[in-house]
Symmetry: C2
Subunit: 260 residues, 2 copies
């Protein structure tokens, strides 16, 4: 029931998001549900584009290419996006399951349910928990304020498994702390993200800094506090580049927007 | 004519390569041309796997998953691999075309045909120029010794464009200099890779080092010689990680083998 509703919401979000884009593209037919059928002639090109985005070969793109709007919509709500997420969260869990406890003096106070002697942290960006937080548009800020972003089921499951597995999970987001802090915390709670160690939003001192710099600084602080970052998960390459990246990084798919 | 022959050779290589793998997989039907039709039921999973490989989410894999052998074969010779390569080499060329000449004292002797005042280098791994150099198998070493690896047309075109554009192109490969140096140079020449600045193979002093360490050292040396590395192209993430990576990295697709 919850899962069906979440999926409906997700579909609506994709449509809403792509509708905004299509408005910006001159000469394109109105973006209605009726003409959303994937155009087979474009599929090969758009598959190349999507691959290039995920491999970080295409950077700084501001919108989905006009000819790929329908393809990306079909990808997002047609099942393959969910399968890609499922595949990657399984990879993450397989990696996590192979972590061997050690006792090398890292924050010995953080013994976990997995009886690891060293503390662990696992950063997941808050952005990855819903599909309704694209880069910048004011309309989405208003939406975020409502605290109604639906969770991505596969990411929620991974999160809960990590918490249950004894990982200290840090949620690091570029959202503004002052204006969106409370709404974000509420949203996480109403979606079931319960048990994380800390939610870290962008404070005034980081305003205007690039995502790579801001997030590197946050990770540095965590390491200096004594955390070992076992994994670093994000849907943007700017989450996974810079310094103090952690032992492994994982890129979740996101062909909808690019955060520099 | 040349291009058709090269394509035939490439197809044969894919078959040969996948055949070796299929032998290693117990219970699999003999890998013959007759049963190479992609299995539709596997396609979605294998597409997720291929995406995860290119995004560096799956690491250290030794073989293509058994259920994806047919899918990968179809990908490699059915057109999408060529389209992906074409897409990325266009991205590279678009990036290269945007490079603005500067005169900041980097090796002023290296004025180029593009009248850039600073020297430029563009590393391309030799491995990316053919599909016949998988990781380690002795049979392929013998093949490499024959100097018959066919060029990938899109990469050859990019190479020639870069040379003509005035870039100093360095070819950096993990191949052993002593045993494969001459054959590799001959192979490059007979495939039309003419005009590169330097071909760099693995000397005895780098034996046993990881690809990331060895290639970082090589790039460091180039930078110390005064080269600015504008671009770094490879089909393995181990080409694109480590130090002195250059201003931009580009990952060429390769779902056939993984070099740690």
């Amino acid at each position: 029931m919850f899962s069906t509703m979440a999926q409906r919401l997700q579909e609506l979000m994709v449509l809403f998001f792509l509708a905004i884009f299509s408005k910006a593209v001159a000469g394109l037919k109105p973006y209605t549900r009726a003409n959303l059928m994937p155009d087979a002639a474009n599929n090969n090109y758009c598959l190349s584009w999507r691959l290039a985005v995920e491999a970080n070969n295409v950077r700084g793109w501001r919108t989905v290419p006009a000819q790929c709007l329908r393809y990306i919509e079909a990808y997002m709500i047609g099942g393959q996006y969910d399968r890609d997420l499922e595949f990657i969260t399984q990879q993450i869990w397989s990696y996590v399951s192979g972590i061997v406890p050690s006792s090398d003096g890292w924050m010995p106070g953080f013994l976990t349910l997995m009886t690891l002697a060293s503390p662990m942290s696992f950063t997941i960006r808050e952005r990855d928990m819903g599909t309704c937080d694209p880069y910048d548009p004011a309309g989405f800020k208003a939406w975020a304020l409502m605290g109604g972003c639906p969770a991505i089921p596969a990411v929620l499951r991974l999160f809960l498994d990590l918490v249950e597995g004894g990982f200290k999970v840090f949620l690091v987001t570029g959202r503004d702390q002052e204006s969106l802090g409370q709404a974000t915390a509420d949203n996480l709670h109403n979606q079931g993200f319960i048990g994380y160690e800390r939610l870290i939003l962008r404070t005034a001192s980081y305003k205007g800094q690039s995502a790579v710099k801001y997030k590197s600084d946050i990770r540095k602080q965590l390491v200096e506090e004594g955390y070992r970052i076992w994994g670093n998960v994000g849907d943007q390459w700017s989450d996974l580049q810079g310094e103090f990246l952690g032992n492994r990084t994982f890129k979740l798919p996101n062909p909808m927007y690019f955060v520099p």
